[in-house]
Amino acid sequence: MRYEPVIGMEVHVELNTQSKMFCACRADIFGAAPNTHVCPVCLGMPGVLPVINQKAVEYTIMLGQALNCEIQLHNVFARKNYFYPDLPKGYQISQYELPLCLNGYVDVQPEGSPEPRRIRIRRVHLEEDTGKLTHVGDYSLVDLNRAGVPLVEIVTEADIHSAEEAYLYVSKLRQIVRYLGISTGDMEKGAMRCEVNLSLKNAATGEWGTKVEIKNLNSFRSVRNAIEYEVQRQEKVLAEGGAVEQVTMGWDENRQVTFVQRVKEGDVGYRYFPEPDLPPLYLEASWVEQIRAGLPELPDAKLARYTTDYGLTDKEAAVLAEDRATAEYFEAVVQAAADFPGVTPKQVSNWISGELFRLLSESGLEIGQVNIAPAHLAALIALVNANTINQTAAKKTFKVMFETGRAPKDIVRELGLEQISDAGQLEQLVRQVIADNPEAVERYRSGQEKVLGFLVGQVMRASRGKANPQLVGDLLKKELQTG
């Protein structure tokens, strides 16, 4: 029997606002001492009133728009009731029947698939994060710094069919929240957390199996591994004639297995009802449109533009569009290149994904810290195009630019890197190399044309890397034929 995995995902993303969702405590709690970003509101003291953080609403609308959702103007917050010490009020303020965003989609491109796969987004809603528990012996220690941090939940339809697609989806989501600047998207620090709903569909009958939920997937790797593991586990249960139980599972990162956490109860257990402490939101359509107009260009649009307008390959475009800072640097250099006729986006792309990335990874710096002015990089490429310097000298110059931020022209002059394109000057070196390498010359003349490369290298060395290699090749050929 063949089974197809049918997967839906719920992803929680912490927003990087200044303050919490319903109070003025600072929302950036990473590394803070326990219970130092708390106040009567987020501690759930009696008699306090929550007030909605407008920025958090704005960020959620931005995300909904980036995910092609319909933005709902009429919004109601709801209480989700349950008892757990990470939730001081005894309920979480969330959204239930009337979320901010509905009916969107994200396209992902699996390796080797001709068409992208569309993953539909059912809803995006805004809520508050809960506190953190640490279990110590017979006790649990409660830190409520995280309680009340704005959190969005993004729910897909069951449109994901493999661990790879789930991985691509989560990567894309992180890329989008980072482009929008609404979250760090940092899974390792808990700013993004995933849950998976998984069932196996019988490929022959089309019948759907029992849905199992896997919670607390806190890295890209665990998303991929937990899905692969759970698919195999369920296939085995079914192959042995057993039945898959409807349960909530956890993922054991150390043992790389899923384990049953508890039997799932339905939504009814949460007794949702409209939050009486928060008046409803009736958003102005004009505000929503204003937010839309302010959205940055997103990775998909950049990718399309880089390939059609700039003639880059899909792969080159994807490397540059991967994060917003790289894309913006690339575009700044392309724009600066307008003053240097002949400098192409392709050349800019090569320099960024080649030498610049190499130096960045060597130095441990990020692209935002690069102090090569976009016009300087464009100027460097123009120097190569004009044969003023050769490729070796260009790389040398680039390294100094990376270290000092100085203009390429000055560096080239100072280090004397100008390419020697004067035939008269080079002919001397060519004759010298021919005289010094009789054996190689002999082999060349007997038909081993590859030896030419060696001879060019000798001339380059004699010129201390400054000779125009193409011209050297031409001169060598001429000299060897006549000589």
């Binding site: 003025a24 609403v57 008892f83 279990h135 649990s140 009486p276 008046p279």
Partner: protein
Amino acid sequence: MAKLSRQEVEYIAELAKLTLSDEEKQQFREQLSAILEYAAILQQVDTTGIPPTASAIPLKNVMRPDEAGLSLSNEEALFNAPDAQDGCFRVKAVLDDTP
């Protein structure tokens, strides 16, 4: 309107994490049923054509700018805590069954 069943009372008690004696179950069955009957009177009002509302207060769109302010100190936060350790509230161990 039918009375709440005993099972319904037990389910509600379970959600509220309450342990009830048999007498209490009977008592709450009566009391909760009386509340439901009272609510049923309201449900007789014809609301055809009236959009549902989530709030009876004539307020809407109350939002605040995203500005961080002061929080409590750790001492203040834990001042009323029955039990504390390492700057945290301390509670009896709970199974990790957060919904």
